[in-house]
């Protein structure tokens, strides 16, 4: 069986789903179920007694086979991310942490220096560290060296739907990496997810593409199928590209000889 392995955890699904931006919790839960995702991201928020429905721990935990991957969204420094990770672990009981440090809300690009430092500390503490990073092969390798469980380079800016704008760099990261590479952010369509998997990504993380779709549960299912198809194609081995035509039928002239 072809399983995604992260640390000592294995997953049959290679689609990781984010839970933000859904119109309501019910739609989000339907999308999670339809996606078949086994790793699901959540964010820390202050408790508000007037918005009790914001609390997703109970509803998500009731779905069988779900492991929570809290993120550190809201942190703008390594220290804040480490603090968020400690709190998140208390709540989730899960060693997974998505390190996400983006100090500028205009572009949400991750801070590589603070991310590196947070990852170094959290990996030493035994977390399964999943950093959201720019598609930077050097940083990806450095994060592998400090013990990250995966790297999650962006396809394009968070929520932009610009797809695999970084595919050239992603190819290098995949080629060089000894840990799973998971494309996180920017995907809009299932075909882009399939493409990422065909390139050799071990998994894909999507949120906006599902949450902002006309029918989120149906889109979640479409992404699941695309990720599975892309993975199957990668394992099957894509044909080599050629600069010129290569005939698939015999070109020997015979009509004139009849």
């Amino acid at each position: 069986m072809d399983l995604l392995q992260i640390g000592s955890y294995t997953f049959s699904s290679r689609l990781i789903l984010g839970t933000g931006k859904f119109s309501n919790a019910s739609v989000m839960l339907d999308a999670v179920r339809a996606s078949g995702a086994q790793l699901v991201t959540v964010a820390l928020r202050r408790f508000n007694r007037e918005q009790a429905e914001d609390d997703l721990f109970g509803p998500l935990s009731s779905i069988e086979g779900i492991t929570l991957m809290p993120n550190t969204s809201g942190a703008s420094t390594a220290a804040e991310a480490v603090r968020a990770a400690h709190i998140a672990r208390e709540l989730s009981g899960s060693p997974f942490i998505k390190v996400e440090i983006h100090p500028n809300p205009q572009h949400l690009m991750p801070d590589p220096i603070e991310t590196y430092e947070a990852c170094r500390i959290l990996a030493q503490e035994g977390f399964l560290v999943m950093p959201y990073i720019a598609a930077d092969p050097v940083l990806a390798k450095r994060l592998e060296e400090v013990g990250c469980a995966s790297v999650m380079p962006l396809g394009s800016a968070i929520g932009s739907g610009q797809g695999l704008a970084t595919s050239g760099m992603l190819n290098i990261i995949i080629r060089e990496s000894g840990i799973p590479v998971i494309v996180d952010a920017g995907l809009r369509s299932p075909s882009e997810a399939a493409h990422a998997m065909e390139m050799g990504c071990e998994a894909v993380l999507v949120n906006s593409a599902v949450a902002a779709a006309g029918n989120p549960p149906a889109m979640a299912e479409a992404f699941a199928e695309a990720v599975a198809a892309g993975r199957k194609a990668f394992r099957a081995g894509l044909m080599q590209k050629s600069g010129s035509a290569v005939a698939t039928s015999p070109l020997t002239s015979f009509l004139g000889t009849v």
């Binding site: 984010g18 839970t19 964010a43 820390l44 928020r45 202050r46 609390d55 721990f57 969204s73």
Partner: protein, 67 residues
């Protein structure tokens, strides 16, 4: 009464209130809430015995939607 800072807002509390008392007062069962007092996480088993003091900064955090 004492006053603590709860999620950035002033909150009056009876003296000698424990963290678990605070959770009852605000209507939380505490199951899916992380409690941080003055930057220290208070684990569920310590909430009945951890007494809150005047001026304590208390953060109550939950998991909400996020990518």
């Amino acid at each position: 009464m004492i006053t603590i800072e709860l999620n950035g807002k002033q909150q009056p509390l009876p003296p000698d209130s424990a963290v678990s008392d605070l959770l009852s007062i605000i209507g939380s069962d505490g199951k899916s809430v992380a409690v941080v007092v003055n930057d220290h996480i208070i684990r569920p088993e310590n909430r009945p015995s951890h007494l809150l003091q005047e001026g304590d900064r208390v953060e109550l955090l939950i998991f909400a939607g996020g990518g």
